[in-house]
Structure formats: C-alpha cells, structure tokens
Amino acid sequence: MENAFIYTGIFLCVLMLLPLYRAVFGPTVLDRLIGANAIGSKTTALLIMIGLIYQRVDMFVDIALAYATLNFIAVLATSRYFQKRKGLYKE
C-alpha cells in the first residue's frame, strides 16, 4: 500500500503543474489565486499521504489541518484587496 501512496503522491505532484501553469501565466490575479488555491488543496492531501508513507500520520495531520484552514485567510485577504481597490489588470 505504501507504494500506492507514493504513486498517488507522484501523480498529485505532476497534477500540480496544471494549476501552477494557471498561477504563473494566468491573465488576472484572480486566476493566479485560483491556481494557488488549487495547489493548496492538493498540498493538504499530499501532506497526509506523506504521513502515511512515513507511517506516522498522527504527526502530519496537524500540519494538514493548519494548512487547510490557514490557506483560507490568504485567499480572503487577496480578494478583499479587489473589493477595496478596483481593477483586475494593472492599475
């Protein structure tokens, strides 16, 4: 089963390339934000997977929990920026 987790992890890592493409080349900042958010949600799963590979999940769960919840704050802050300052493209 550990091998299965490793392969799943590799698959997720490769999958991260697609949101990363959006984050790097996205025309607007919101696109980048969507990309970063998607990377964050994959990271949460990956952290647990790494824990399973190390066979110490109980230690990694806390990190994933902190991660999943705190990622939200960054997204809120960035979108709050647009709600106050108009204009998605360059100012």
């Binding site: 190390y54 066979q55 110490r56 230690m59």
Partner: protein, 141 residues
C-alpha cells in the same frame, strides 16, 4: 556509455540534486535582490534567499530510511534502546525553526520600511526614488 557508469551517474545525481536545487534558488534570490528595481520584488528575493539556506540545512539533516524526529511510543521509550540512525537529525530542524522566525521578522520590518517609503515618495521603484532624492538635494542647495 555502459550500464555501470550510468548507474553511478544516477547515484551521483540522487546524492546531490538537492544541493543543485538550493544553488538555483540562491541564485534566483540573489539576482532578485541585486538586479530588480522594485522594492517589494527585492523583499521577495530576500525571502527566497533565506529559504534556500533553510533548505540547505534541512538537506543536511536527512537520513535515508529514517523517520521524523519524534520518538515512537512516547513514554515507554526507556524500555528499548533508541538507534540514532532511525531518526532524522533534530538539530538542524531546531536551527531552521529559528531561521524561519528570523526571516518572518525581517520580512515584517522590510515591508514596514517599504510602506513608509511609499508614503513619502509615492513609488516603489528604486530609480524613481533616487531621482526624487537627487531633485530634493538640488533644491536644498
């Protein structure tokens, strides 16, 4: 190229690739700090540089086939002996925890300075600021 040489190469790459990544990251950070014109960009470069060093320390601390530095079976550990090769080296982790804190602190102060600069000069571009400074000084004369 015959197979053993190739295997050696692979071993070599696996043994060192992290350090090459660190070198690349340090170069990125240093380049941003020296060559970029925008102050926030420089601050980002500074952070990348610091994280690269942290990555270096963590790479030192890894061991193949070792687990994270938290002892299994909490309090019963007196009974059976602990092999040092089974756990990652905790010392660099400690040092880097401190280094991360330092980098966050530096980030805060640097951003505060950048905000202060913007309030005065209305720009974050270094060359524009220097132009304004020059104009100010010639006005004083």
């Amino acid at each position: 190229m015959d197979a053993p040489v190739l295997a050696d190469m692979l071993d070599f790459v696996i043994a060192k690739y992290n350090y090459w990544g660190i070198a690349a990251l340090m170069m990125i950070g240093l380049y941003a700090m020296i060559a970029k014109n925008n102050l926030v960009k420089k601050i980002i470069g500074m952070n990348i540089f610091q994280t690269a060093i942290i990555l270096f320390f963590i790479s030192i601390a890894t061991k193949w086939d070792a687990t994270i530095p938290i002892i299994i079976h909490g309090h019963g550990a007196h009974a059976h002996s602990i092999h040092a090769a089974d756990y990652m080296n905790p010392l660099p982790h400690v040092l880097m925890l401190t280094a991360i804190v330092v980098s966050v602190a530096t980030l805060g102060v640097a951003l505060a300075l950048a905000v202060g600069i913007f309030q005065r000069y209305e720009t974050l571009e270094e060359d524009n600021i220097l132009e304004q400074l020059k104009a100010d000084e010639s006005n004083l004369r």
